[in-house]
């Protein structure tokens, strides 16, 4: 899920503790326990920390085995596909896990050449498709795509096969490019390779153990300054961290839940895509509704909201979200990155042409 979704989830979870909400209130609220504390902010702060560690630290310190080399002014897709394919083949033979860094092709301060790396499990091929130049908003400049003979590069793997039929393609364009991991295992005497997106993501940072360790810091500080309900500061922090890890389990990647005791990245339940606007907005909106409800009931002796909880959530959360989902389903197109979709369709056409060519060749041989 998106950073803000985790962030607001952490705050919302913290708001279920009446002493935390009371402490966070201003004295003008009339609550006798009000002390203008910032305790609820800890829920948000710890809620966004796992991804902060990954995207602002982990990614730059993860060591790649191979960096894809190219000339941004004259990229050769065949050479790029060869580099990727040969690296996967070599690692398969050596039985090693390999990480490849795909750097962006920067053409100027605001210009980037987009390329897409995709995999075909049926044909057992790695493809690189060079797309148009795009700006930092990822908007393509039509007509800047390379000529057809410089557009597509395909490498057929020799020493391994892909585990999945269609591993997810990767589009590379703006800012820093992704790193991909390729892990080969021997299954029934054959090398089988799985593709791992961002192998440095959701590893050590997405561990309940680390969350517990980091929340001890908040706990100790609160204890040192003899803050009222000092134990709550650590608890709110841990829950913020833990809710992030738990929410991420609804996606595909999961996390290394008990690192350092077991560094394995457990798979997620594949319920939602992390970037899906519907999931993110639904969680954010629901959290906002719960947050306001909790702030009201735990701050004031006589709650301000004149509705019982079921009416409140029905009118404030259920109805607006139902309207949102109906409109979304009616108006929104599927969520696919356009450059990737374009590359996929180009590859499909290319493969169809190859098939036709192969059939024609076969026909000419067989007469």
């Amino acid at each position: 899920m998106k950073g803000l979704t985790h962030f607001i989830s952490g705050v919302t979870l913290a708001s279920f503790f009446a002493p935390a909400v009371a402490a966070a209130a201003l004295t003008k609220s009339g609550n006798p326990d009000a002390s203008a504390s910032f305790i609820l902010v800890l829920g948000g702060l710890y809620g966004i920390l796992p991804d902060t560690f990954d995207f602002k630290l982990g990614r730059f310190f993860a060591k790649e085995d191979v960096t894809l080399e190219f000339d941004p002014n004259n990229p050769d897709p065949q050479d790029m596909a060869n580099q990727v394919g040969q690296a996967i083949d070599k690692a398969a033979v050596e039985g090693k896990f390999i990480q490849i860094q795909y750097n962006p092709m920067r053409m100027g301060a605001n210009l980037w050449r987009q390329y897409v790396v995709s995999y075909d499990g049926e044909k057992n091929e790695v493809s690189v498709v060079i797309n148009e130049i795009v700006n930092t908003s990822q908007l393509p400049f039509p007509g800047t795509e390379p000529p057809p003979d410089k557009r597509i590069g395909i490498y057929k793997l020799k020493n391994t096969v892909f585990l999945e039929k269609r591993p997810k393609p990767t589009g590379v364009d703006i800012l820093s490019g992704p790193m991909m991991g390729y892990e080969t295992k021997v299954v029934d005497g054959k090398n089988v390779t799985s593709v791992e997106f961002l192998p440095w993501h959701r590893t050590w940072s997405h561990s309940y153990v680390l969350g517990l360790f980091l929340s001890v810091i908040a706990w100790l500080i609160a204890w040192w300054f003899a803050l009222e309900n000092w134990w709550l500061y650590g608890l709110v922090s841990f829950l913020g961290y833990a809710v992030h890890i738990t929410e991420d389990l609804t996606g595909h990647m999961g996390g290394s839940l008990i690192w350092p005791f077991n560094p394995k990245r457990f798979d997620g339940y594949c319920l939602f895509k992390a970037s899906d606007p519907r999931t993110n907005f639904t969680v954010v909106y629901t959290c906002m509704s719960i947050l306001i409800f909790n702030l009201d009931r735990f701050t004031f002796a006589q709650p301000v909201i004149p509705l019982p909880w079921y009416s409140y959530f029905f009118f404030v959360a259920v109805i607006p979200l139902a309207i949102y989902h109906v409109i979304y389903a009616w108006a929104e197109a599927p969520i696919v990155k356009e450059g990737v979709a374009q590359a996929e369709s180009l590859l499909a056409r290319h493969n169809a042409a190859r098939n036709e060519e192969a059939i024609a060749e076969q026909d000419s041989i067989t007469g």
């Binding site: 201003l26 609220s29 602002k56 630290l57 990822q138 908007l139 820093s176």
Partner: protein, 446 residues
């Protein structure tokens, strides 16, 4: 009689707002402050019933017409394009008029959204306001924390060592963090121990805002070497019903955030709303950005002020937010029933401003390509500096200089410019929580 007073001052406010909105780097709150001084100077000759219509229509015109200097009076070269807005990119591609029309359309959508949201203003907002008012200090800090942590590394992460890669990619993030800290300290100093004279207290933060935001923009344009391309005056615009729906949705969310939470600007509201709705990802991203940005801007300036008229038993003083509300508070109090007048004024001023925007855009675009940008920005620099000097003297100029030094950091290191809002957000958050004096004492300011 009162009808004609309201109509007359609506037209006058629209005219004043439209004229002053054309000046690059001049903010309408500065104009409002000066008008307020003149208004109180004229005293009894000015009618009290005119205050609301005049200032509402002035800020409505600003929300429309300010598009012109924002879009047309900047020609950044390629080095700055990562940090500039899509409307300027449109302009640099010869589509400045299209950008202006889309923004005008966005502001019009903002007018209709405000009418549509009226029941919520009266039947939901007062309850939310009472609940959140008791917690506003940590909500502001929460937003600050999120903005700091969500600044995305803009470097490519190139480098031979891991440390090289880290520092190359994270330069803008550290610049953003630095900006938050120093602008926050500056804000604590300014609000605790202002060096601006008491007579000009209403413009206490004006020099620092000019320094943080206006002067760095001027400098950015002065160092730019790009020429303005020939502009195409389009007869239609490429906006679909889907674009309008999406941008209205994102614009409403961001407008609600920046229109309600104190010291949260339209830029900050847009960042949070785009993350909350996760709708930043589209090939039509620039159209949505311009349209949604215009809606947000309208709700931020006009909507925030309109809330002053939401007088209910729970909110007897209204829910008004924003700079104009603070400026007018000494002389203006809304009465129950004034909301209808407010929304009517917005409708009239908004309609006139939209057509003025179209006409003024064509007029400006007819000569803008022949103007030397450097002359224009030198003139703006001299004018804005003279205004600061005239209103606040040497102390104000000094404050402006300090603000400029801080404001240049995000501009030239490609960080978010909204980081400079630490100047208000940090001291406001501390003061609301009651820690303001303690922190000021730590700096030796008390």
């Amino acid at each position: 009689m009162e009808f004609f007073t309201i109509l007359g001052y609506t037209l006058l406010g629209t005219l004043v707002g439209a004229v002053f909105s054309l000046f690059p780097s001049l903010h309408i709150y500065n104009v409002a402050g000066i008008v307020l001084v003149l208004w109180t100077y004229l005293g009894d000759s000015m009618q009290h019933a005119a205050v609301g219509p005049f200032f509402i229509s002035m800020i409505t015109a600003f929300a429309f017409i300010n598009t012109i200097p924002m879009t047309f009076f900047g020609a950044p070269d390629e080095s700055a394009q990562v940090t500039i807005l899509p409307n300027t990119i449109y302009f640099m591609n010869g589509k400045g008029y299209e950008a202006a029309v889309i923004q005008g359309l966005g502001a019009l959508i903002g007018v209709f959204l405000m009418i549509a949201l009226t029941p919520l203003f009266y039947y939901v907002l007062p309850y939310v306001d009472v609940v959140l008012s008791a917690h506003m200090h940590w909500i502001i800090l929460l937003i600050v924390v999120y903005l700091v942590l969500s600044e995305w590394p803009k470097g490519c992460g190139f480098g031979t060592t891991r440390l090289d890669r880290f520092s190359e990619a994270m330069g803008n993030v550290f610049a953003g963090l630095f900006t938050w800290v120093v602008s926050g300290i500056l804000g604590i100093i300014i609000l605790s121990k202002s060096i601006i004279t008491h007579e000009m207290g209403f413009q206490n933060i004006m020099p620092v805002f000019v320094g943080l935001f206006a002067i760095p923009s001027i400098l950015q344009n002065l160092v730019s070497t790009r020429q303005v391309p020939k502009q195409h005056i389009c007869t239609d615009i490429d906006v679909t019903a889907n674009d309008i729906g999406k941008s209205a949705f994102v614009g409403t969310v961001s407008g609600a955030i920046c229109g309600y939470v104190p010291a949260i600007t339209a830029g900050i509201g847009s960042i949070i709303a785009s993350h909350a709705t996760a709708m930043g990802f589209s090939a039509r991203g620039d159209v949505l950005f311009i349209l949604g940005g215009a809606i947000t801007k309208f709700l931020y300036y006009v909507g925030a002020f309109l809330l002053i008229f939401v007088v209910t038993p729970l909110t007897p003083a209204g829910v008004g937010k924003g700079g104009l509300n603070i400026i007018l508070r000494p002389i203006f109090t809304a009465e129950p029933g004034d909301y209808l007048m407010g929304i009517s004024v917005i409708l009239v001023a908004g309609g006139i401003s939209f057509f003025l925007l179209l006409w003024l855009s064509r007029w400006v675009l007819s000569w803008v390509a022949d103007v030397d940008y450097h002359d224009l920005y030198w003139a703006a620099f001299v004018a804005i500096t003279a205004l600061v000097a005239a209103l606040t003297g040497f102390p104000g100029l000094f404050t402006m200089l300090v603000g400029t030094a801080i404001g240049c950091v995000p501009v030239f290191f490609h960080a978010r410019r909204s980081n400079c809002m630490g100047v208000l957000l940090i001291p406001i958050c501390l003061n609301m929580a009651g820690y303001g004096d303690q922190v000021a004492a730590l700096f030796g300011l008390l």
